[in-house]
Amino acid sequence: MSRQYLIRRLLIAIPSLLGISIVLFTVLALAPGDPFGELASNPAIPPEVAASLRAKFGLDDPVWIRYMHWLVAMVHGDWGFSFASRINVDTLILQRLPTTLIVIGAAQILAIIVALPVGVLAGTRPYSIFDQVANTLAFIGFSLPTFFTGLLLILIFSVRLDWLPMVYRADLGSTGWTWFVAEIKQSIMPVAVLGLFQGASLVRYVRSAVLDVVRLDYVTTARSKGIGERKVITRHVVRTALIPVVTLVALQMPVVFGGAIVTEQIFRVPGIGSLLISAMLSNDTPVVMAVTFVFACLVVLFNLIADILYGWLDPRIAYR
């Protein structure tokens, strides 16, 4: 992969980030009334904070200047003050972000571990019993909304079997090995809900990509080399089938973040998703805006990672 390709992808990410920020700002600007109006009426807010916020957002300037101010503030991480938590929004989000990233990351890994072999097996044996079972399960998997799967898991593993804790606790009050075990136990369900949902659609992507690749001439060439079916599948089929899968996974990222919000809410995982919901329920506008902005940045970031992966997986792209 060439350096130019990397730089080009980075440059392409900027307009999409700007585009998303314009959409966000438009929503904010179109919102009826003054979104910070309650600053004045809320006695809990020190008047000097309210004044500085109003000045920062320059609510009487022309639209594009307000946008510029807003963007600069957002990019600087200057996100204001949380009314509900009484700390700066950037501190609050930085506290919560790692949890979200860990849950999403673990779920992605789980999804890949489950979906890749299943999808490949199903794709190399199309219309076999295994394929049909896998396909049906995948269909059920992504038709099950995350909030329902979450409740089902709680019902089975917490209420009935009492194996796993119902909600996630940030402060476990233990150390060392017991802390680690408790941490794993309380992470199983959130990660499983998100991972299996993502895995279900991944199975179908992998399967159809494998089906497309298996028929290609170079797979026959690989078979004629006498390297064994296993190597033919792993080196030649899976390796190329991953290319379209990466794109589809990137397109799925916004859905994954949506799932993360729901999952965090169900299991009370203290990430930015549950922060968003609680901020909305308590009318904490700066937090709402900042979290939405962070989610937008994460989507762009993951798209960028997918682009780079794509260029690394497909040598034809990097040279174009």
């Binding site: 999409s16 992504f142 099950l144 329902f148 019902l155 919000i261 968003l276 919901i277 989507v299």
Partner: protein, 273 residues
């Protein structure tokens, strides 16, 4: 096929059900609080002793109506954008497709939540609490799902517009709009129907998610997601409450997805892409 039967049964149940099952959705009966299924309440009751079957039948109407209306919004916007992009080419086309790509990479749920958070007050004052939420949920869900349809319509137009019968129509002096409406759109219908079907399922999930997070319809309108939201805190004592409402969403979405898949095979959108 089985999925079509299931879906038909669900739709008939929510349309006709409330006419047959005449238990009111908000009859509070503390004597029958959180009761399991019985003859009086086939699906049990909730924490206020309200009949769950009646609530689900009523809520299903709203959930399915939201799904259908949001799909229509998405389809109309998508066809318009796709048709304009496909017919105009050049910079307009590029700009619209860039917009579609941008919308595809928006974090949908956070944005959905944000819009509802910011606009809820204004809309409820115009349309009333029930109507306001309905209009907003439909508009926002539909407004965030038009991209797929737009791409399909545009691809179809690009592939068909050079074909002979369009040349012929152009030679006969048919206007651009007329070409699109009379000749191109009917050809693009197959893939659009498939995308639309899947959009219905996605919109139902989106609405349920909003209600489940407590940010969708108010408690007196028992959409499926809202019922599930209310039920989640009593999982240990009244699991039937959550199970029945969740199952309603799941079965509907599953059968719609299966139908979409069947339609995809039958209509084969590959010939377009």
């Amino acid at each position: 096929m089985a999925s079509a039967v299931v879906l038909l049964a669900i739709v008939l149940a929510v349309v006709l059900g409330p006419l047959v099952w005449r238990v009111p959705i908000n009859e509070i009966d503390f004597a029958a609080q959180l009761a399991g299924p019985s003859w009086a309440h086939p699906l049990g009751t909730d924490d206020l002793g309200q009949d769950i079957l009646a609530r689900l039948l009523y809520g299903g109407r709203i959930s399915i109506a939201v799904g259908l209306c949001a799909m229509l919004v998405a389809a109309v916007v998508g066809v318009l954008v796709g048709a304009i992009a496909g017919m105009s080419r050049g910079s307009v086309d590029a700009a619209l497709m860039w917009l579609a790509d941008l919308f595809l990479s928006l974090p949908q749920l956070p944005l959905l939540l944000l819009i509802i958070y910011l606009f809820r007050g204004a809309l409820t004052s115009v349309f009333g609490s029930q109507g306001g939420i309905f209009v907003m949920v439909v508009a926002v869900i539909g407004g965030l799902r038009w991209m797929q349809v737009a791409r399909l319509v545009r691809a179809q137009i690009l592939s068909i517009r050079e074909k002979e019968f369009i040349e012929a129509a152009r030679a006969l002096g048919a206007s651009k709009v007329r070409q699109v409406v009379r000749h191109i759109l009917p050809n693009a219908m197959g893939p659009v129907i498939v995308a639309g079907t899947i959009d219905v399922a996605a919109a139902i999930i989106a609405e349920s998610t909003l209600s489940f997070l407590g940010l969708g319809f108010p408690p007196d309108i028992p959409t499926w997601g809202r019922v599930l939201f209310d039920a989640k805190d009593t999982l240990d004592v009244a699991p039937h409450w959550a199970l029945f409402s969740g199952a309603a969403i799941f079965l509907t979405v599953l059968s719609i997805n299966f139908i979409g898949d069947g339609l995809r095979d039958a209509l084969d959108p590959r010939r377009v892409l």
